[in-house]
Symmetry: C2
Subunit: 119 residues, 2 copies
DNA sequence: CGAATACGTGCAATAGTTGGAATATGCAAG
DNA sequence: CTTGCATATTCCAACTATTGCACGTATTCG
């Protein structure tokens, strides 16, 4: 309960200190997505994706919306995407500085059953 | 070696996911400081401060400069302070939203032997 | 040289994170 | 109510971080 600002800010950063969670946020930066979409886009087991989403949700970074059996996730705050993007500029690569960021995954993912991919 | 951008970015966030390290960066955001100054300003044992500084140094967030027996630390990149400041706007406090950030420590700290405080 | 001061490092006990597997829940259709 | 699908939670072993403390290193001064 004695959580001062630094402790809260540290909790936010802890939620961000995981490559798969950053990958998820990278997908959500362009569009909301259901769990099955992230499951297919990241090629990770569904319970694993759900766990990371729970961490992001508890940190207040994403929010969710149910639509039938699907649950769509999106960034909780419009400023998050731009802030993360600016954070990338600060990443250094050991000796040199070029930052090998993988391309964002395609918006339509094969074998994803969600309405957004089935068209 | 198989460190993609997300892994590197996660390492950056991991270095930031600690309240004492955030406190150190908060001091360094206004001025460079020697270890003994941080030691006094944060009221933490010197080896403990050194360890946190080592973590920040390995993450590329701070750089250091020796001057006699003192070692001065500063933010490694001018954009870091502003980016951290903007990150605070995203911190939510459980239910409500007000963010109780402690005030920045004073520039001159009692019992600090560094030239900046002895005047 | 030796002593004093400012920092850094190594170690060990404790605590927290990770990621896979099994299982549980919640909704819709039949 | 049962089945089936989408998603969530729980459990657990391996791994990693935290933090206090003793000791090591580097620089200056006498």
């Amino acid at each position: 309960m004695a959580a001062d600002g630094f402790e809260l800010q540290a909790q936010l950063f802890r939620a961000l200190s995981h490559p798969v969670r950053l990958q998820i946020l990278n997908v959500l930066a362009r569009t909301e997505a259901c769990v099955c979409h992230l499951n297919a886009a990241l090629n990770r087991p569904q319970p694993y994706v759900s766990q990371q989403l729970a961490t992001l949700r508890e940190a207040g970074l994403v929010s969710d919306r149910r639509e039938g059996t699907l649950i769509y996730y999106r960034l909780a705050d419009g400023r998050i995407a731009g802030w993360l993007e600016r954070g990338r500029e600060l990443v250094k690569n050991g000796d040199g500085n070029p930052i090998p960021f993988p391309p964002a995954p395609p918006e339509v993912v094969p074998h994803c059953p969600c309405p957004h991919c089935q068209r």
